[in-house]
Amino acid sequence: MFKILEKAELNPSMTKMVVEAPLIAKKAKPGQFIIYRVDEFGERVPLTIADTDKEKGSVTIIFQKVGYSTMLLDKLNVGDYILDFVGPLGVPTELFNCKKAAVIGGGAGCAIAYPQAKALFNMGVDVDVIAGFRNKDLIILEDEMKAVSSRLFVLTDDGSNGVKGFVTTALEANINSGCEYDLVIAIGPVPMMKAVCNVTKPHGIKTIVSMNPIMIDGTGMCGGCRLTVGGKIKFACVDGPDFDGFEVDFDELMKRNAMYRDFEQKARSKDCRLLKQAEVD
């Protein structure tokens, strides 16, 4: 059982939770993830670690309330316990000392991009952070990202924060204005990561992407998180979750991620356990 120490709503669709898990906090490195299970009947859901506090023995997760199991997690409050919380899983991001890096986050992906930017920044790398959101109400971690970057670019799809565009708009503009990145890290929706790679590839800039496929055990056992990288089958849980963006078959991954869409919709319908519980509450 893992106690929830803090909980905050970052925007209407995103929640931050700080969970007591001292052994995981001690070991976790940027890019690694945990798997949680809310209760006996719950799914096992992977979430990338957003931050850790080794002193306090806590792990921070930030999640978007998109599916049934994240909505179920969001029902828990400070002082409640999460039944299972296992990690740190996956291979840490290979953060190497380079001169100039762009760390790109899309929506909820910013929660994962932030620790990467922080680690690079603390290594002395000149870091540009480019963050994209659908509209200004969904912007998260603006101050945090500002604190760990030389320059922060925040864009919105609808221009409601005054800067209209996608993350690729800012990335292209920076490259065209002579910015020589040695490394780009892109974390967000799969189409965004694909679009970033399409920008960086002609320039030959090493681009790391973080994959978020469907998973069960997170230790290589089920093979559900497989994706094609460089023409070979790789498991995101033990070989990743980070991969060379130029090698990943994004189109296949997008289709695989839609595998349980019907099931998700059914789960949101009247029969769902969450709504039944809400009626009782």
Binding site: L23, I24, K27, R37, F41, G42, E43, R44, Y68, S69, L72, L83, D84, F85, V86, G87, P88, L89, I216, D217, G218, T219, G220, M221, C222, G223, G224, R226, L227, T228, I233, F235, V238, D249, E252, K255, R256, A258, M259, Y260, D262, F263, E264, A267, R273
Partner: protein
């Protein structure tokens, strides 16, 4: 006088057309009369060849003699002198290629139903609710076991009986390994596995779930924490794929994923949140027990047609004979000497067919195996919406990737000394599928027991 009837006392079973729609256990178990009748078929041979066929050397004629006498407690005591999980083994061991293959009765007629009798004794013991487990006197030494599958549990149980303070680390949220996630409820009820685990806990074994060793703690850190020996029983948890086109399509599962969603995550029960797309027309690729389990599970989820696609002939299938018979009776179609070459998908990435070729077997090669080769121009397409790949597993890579000094061979199997199961790292032992690649529950248990003895010898020798 032994009963000389040529056939085994039949096992009562659920009707095939009823059981293929539920997840309840297929074999219902002997009654006391049936068990006594079967037990009296044993000749109690002087040199008891059956014992040599058992990887943990259960004193088979001795426990069977006790069934004839009606002393089932004594029968249980004899079995558990060398076996840790009798209710499990009685159900899932490939007896026909082990103990029962050596049975003298089997030369001319059917062998004694040793597995069925073992199961009977174990089930009787559980039904008595007799928690007379005596916690052994502690010997002051600590050992760690990584993985709570059959191998790890056996090693832990054996060490605990010798007085060791044993901690088992399990990556999943529940102990049991393949017994929980792999083997289906209808073949091995999960309540039975948990009962066996409770017996180990009563012996003093501490089980820590949600602990992925190699990630949260390294083996070296376990030694720093005071453990004097480590047993690695992490199993063969890395599913193989065929490497053919279309394996990334929606509707293609590794057998591990398909079975885990059903067995461990209970996707077949309404009250669980686990998603699974219920397939209608299924092809299962492979001929082992896991393939049979996946095929029979697919039927139970409501599939209209399920085929086993296997590139050799039925004779070469590695599955237990009983599983093959059960699968056939339940309506699984066997497509032997056929090999998949491509999985076909629609524009949305859903499986709509499996392209196969017909195969023929060549004359046996130097190793005695008849290699299958494709017949030119024999391609055809199976109309399926799901393909389950059950062609085996490689050892799980987490431990050897994260443990300096622990050698493994090019296939990923941990290298050990055959006699002691010692690895290349001091005080670290390994066994089961992590060493051999995918094999059987009982072989993994045999290794767990052997390693426990080596660990005990090692620790005693240090005290001298």
């Amino acid at each position: 006088m032994p009963d000389m009837s040529p056939k085994k006392t039949p096992m009562p079973e659920q009707d095939p057309n009823v059981r293929n729609k539920n997840f309840d256990e297929v074999s219902l178990g002997y009654t006391l009369e049936m068990a006594k009748a079967e037990a009296s078929r044993c000749l109690n041979c002087k040199n008891h060849p059956c014992v040599s066929g058992c990887p943990v050397n259960i004193q088979i004629p001795d426990f069977i003699a006790q069934i004839v006498k009606g002393d089932l407690d004594e029968a249980y005591r004899i079995i558990t002198k060398t076996s840790s999980l009798p209710a499990v083994c009685g159900r899932v061991c490939p007896q026909e290629s082990q103990c029962e293959s050596k049975c003298v009765r089997g030369i001319k007629t059917e062998s004694v139903g040793i597995g069925r009798l073992e199961r009977f004794v174990a089930d009787y013991h559980m039904s008595q609710n007799a928690d007379n487990v005596v916690k052994p006197e502690p010997n002051g030494h600590k050992a760690a076991v990584i993985g709570s599958g059959p191998s790890g549990l056996t090693c832990a149980g054996t060490l605990a009986k010798l007085g060791y303070e044993v901690t088992v680390f399990e990556a999943f949220h529940i102990a049991g390994g393949v017994l929980m996630y792999g083997i289906p409820e209808f073949r091995l009820p999960k309540a039975i596995v948990q009962r066996e685990i409770e017996e180990l806990k009563a012996l003093g074994v501490d089980i820590k779930t949600n602990m992925v060793i190699g990630k949260i703690l390294s083996i070296d850190e376990l030694f720093e924490d005071g453990y004097e020996a480590v047993y690695v029983g992490t199993g063969a948890g890395l599913p193989n794929f065929m490497g053919i086109e279309g394996e990334g399509l929606i509707g293609v599962y590794s057998a591990n994923e398909f079975l885990t969603r059903i067995n461990l995550m209970k996707a077949y029960k309404e009250e669980y949140d686990t998603p699974i797309n219920k397939p209608k027309r299924v092809a299962v690729v492979g001929g082992g027990n896991v393939a049979m389990d996946a095929a029979r599970s697919a039927l139970r989820l409501g599939a209209q047609s399920v085929s086993i696609v296997y590139r050799r002939s039925e004779e070469e299938m590695p599955a237990r004979k009983e599983e093959i018979m059960h699968a056939k009776a339940e309506g699984v179609e066997f497509r032997v000497l056929q090999n998949p070459i491509k999985i076909i998908g629609d524009d949305n990435g859903n499986v709509i067919g499996l392209e196969c070729v017909e195969m023929e077997l060549q004359e046996p090669d130097a190793s005695g195996r008849r290699r299958p080769i494709a017949k030119a121009g024999s391609n055809f397409i199976l109309d399926v919406d799901s393909v389950i790949i059950a062609i085996g597993n490689a050892p799980n890579p987490l431990i050897h990737r994260t443990t300096p000094g622990l050698e493994s061979n090019p296939k990923g199997c941990i290298v050990v000394d055959d006699e002691t199961l010692a690895t290349t790292k001091d005080a670290v032992y390994a066994g089961g599928d992590a060493v051999t690649g995918a094999a059987t529950v009982i072989k993994a248990m045999g290794a767990g027991r052997k390693a426990a003895k080596s660990i005990d010898n090692m620790i005693k020798s240090k005290q001298l």
